[in-house]
Symmetry: C2
Subunit: 154 residues, 2 copies
């Protein structure tokens, strides 16, 4: 049962969660299945590309972001899914051996007009390298159940 | 060697490419690795959710979109990668057995100010069910090499 509800997301709050280290094998496996562009499969092709070396598919980075979101807080949250993403920037290549950490910022929170049992939280999710450079920046809305439906948000 | 260049993307052009049928096994496998929320793993949990039944992770749908983009035209295109996505809407659940087709609309095309050998094309990508309902809508910018760098676009 979830123990994190809409009321627990405080606007402006910044938290970091978990980390993932990308292996060459998983970068090539993901790309082979979903994004078989040469720069995601082969070192020489990566070097010849704007990425400057073998680098993960941006969709692989997004998938890992989702996993860190799940493990960090979402699986304990009264989440009801997401209507979508309003911004997703791939800012730097992700290479074999890179370890990325999730940073979550709560940008906005509001109750739903049509569904009083839930609200919508807008998050900025970022994946950071150990030197704090940001490789992925995403703004995403998640529908989250309320602890006290019908009560006014503070 | 690529045979599709910046000059080949005509603003307003709409084309459809390929299709993919989602199996229950791949929906559960993707979710288990990247998005282990119960509604993506289990029929009963899906039924109890807003999705109304077991449904693919939105990131799985995005990954399949990327594969259809690759197979449809990108692997033959002088693509130099993507800075990101400016909009991504998950509009309907994707269920086991659903067959989705890619529809591509060219929204905008311009040469790069800083890199005369390339330009940026803004696409609307959609995944459609056989009844033409749209399950995923995405606006994405891709950097694409020019056939004739330095020449003026028509």
């Amino acid at each position: 049962m979830p123990d994190i509800f809409l009321e627990d997301f405080i606007i402006g709050e910044v938290k970091t969660f978990g980390s993932h280290t990308f292996s060459r094998e998983e970068i090539v496996a993901f790309a082979g299945e979903f994004d078989p562009q040469p720069m995601h499969l082969d070192e020489a092709a990566g070097k010849a590309s704007l990425l400057g070396g073998l680098a993960a598919s941006g969709w692989h980075t997004c998938a890992i972001l989702m996993r860190l979101i799940c493990d960090g807080f979402l699986l304990r949250t009264a989440s009801m899914g997401s209507p979508g993403v309003t911004e997703n920037k791939w800012k730097e290549p992700v290479r074999p051996g890179d370890t990325l950490t999730l940073r979550r910022t709560v940008l906005e929170s509001r109750t739903s007009r049509s569904k009083p049992e839930m609200g919508l939280v807008t998050f900025r999710f970022e994946l950071l390298k150990p030197d704090k450079s940001v490789v992925l920046e995403q703004v995403c809305v998640i529908m989250i159940g309320r602890r006290n439906p019908g009560a006014r948000l503070a």
